[in-house]
Amino acid sequence: MAQYADIVEIVAPGEAVGGNRVDITIRIKNNYSSTIGIMAGGALEYGVSPWPNINFPEPSANVDGEATRSFNGYFTMPGKKVTIHAYSYYYGADGSWHFDDEMTKTIDIAEEIESQFGSIEILSYSRR
């Protein structure tokens, strides 16, 4: 259980094609009664070390008390199933970021479908 920055959800697709960009959202709730600084982070576990980071263009924000904020991030899908590790941090009175919560979600590798055409029909024809 988080002390202040509670990760309530990771929004991400269930599967993605290797090499494609995957957009995710981490929703973090401020459990504190007033505004505090909250930061999101993340890493990808799929058998490489160190775990690659997830990019968050705007990783931190001041979040009102009891409010939930969405932090958008993205990464390139590796060629195998990946586990997202999402982290939250809060900004303490000592002027440092403190790790607070973690949540995971797995994204399966999607099979890439070759281009196929099913049918074609002429809708209209006109003189130009």
Binding site: S119, S126, R127
Partner: protein, 139 residues
């Protein structure tokens, strides 16, 4: 006038198709709808005017252009057009129309629309044949 048979709850439905009249110098724009699934792709969209026969489609004029197809994770429909330039290589008369996607080995071919294109005779350039005096009066 051409027509196509379409399946319906009453059996096959004969749907008459309007003719379009063209003459050399015109362009005929053919708009097609096709279905696609899978990765992005680039393929020629090709359409031809000619005559459908027992041995296939005898093309007289054709047009083509490369279309860029987006990635479709499920079957989806897209629309595109292709123009055929009408030249003097085609003589006056009624012609059929078909379209396809792909090159030498088409990915998909449309049903032919029969007798939907009427090519009009080319109007010749201005010429003068003779002149004669028909009247003369004082003015």
């Amino acid at each position: 006038m051409g027509a196509v048979y379409l399946p319906s709850q009453f059996g096959l439905l004969l749907l008459p198709l309007a003719n379009v009249q063209v003459k050399p110098g015109d362009k005929l724009r053919i708009t097609c709808r096709y279905s696609h699934i899978g990765q992005t792709d680039s393929q020629p969209l090709y359409a031809a005017i000619g005559n459908e026969g027992w041995a296939g489609f005898n093309e007289v004029l054709h047009g083509s252009k490369t279309i860029s197809v987006p990635e479709d994770s499920a079957w989806d429909y897209h629309e595109e057009y292709v123009d055929i330039s009408i030249t003097t290589a085609i003589s006056a008369g009624f012609y059929d129309l078909y379209a396809k996607i792909g090159g030498t080995f088409p990915k998909v071919i449309s049903p032919s629309l029969l007798d939907v294109v009427e090519v009009l005779a080319d109007i010749p350039d201005s010429e003068f044949g003779e002149i004669s005096i028909t009247d003369y009066v004082k003015v």
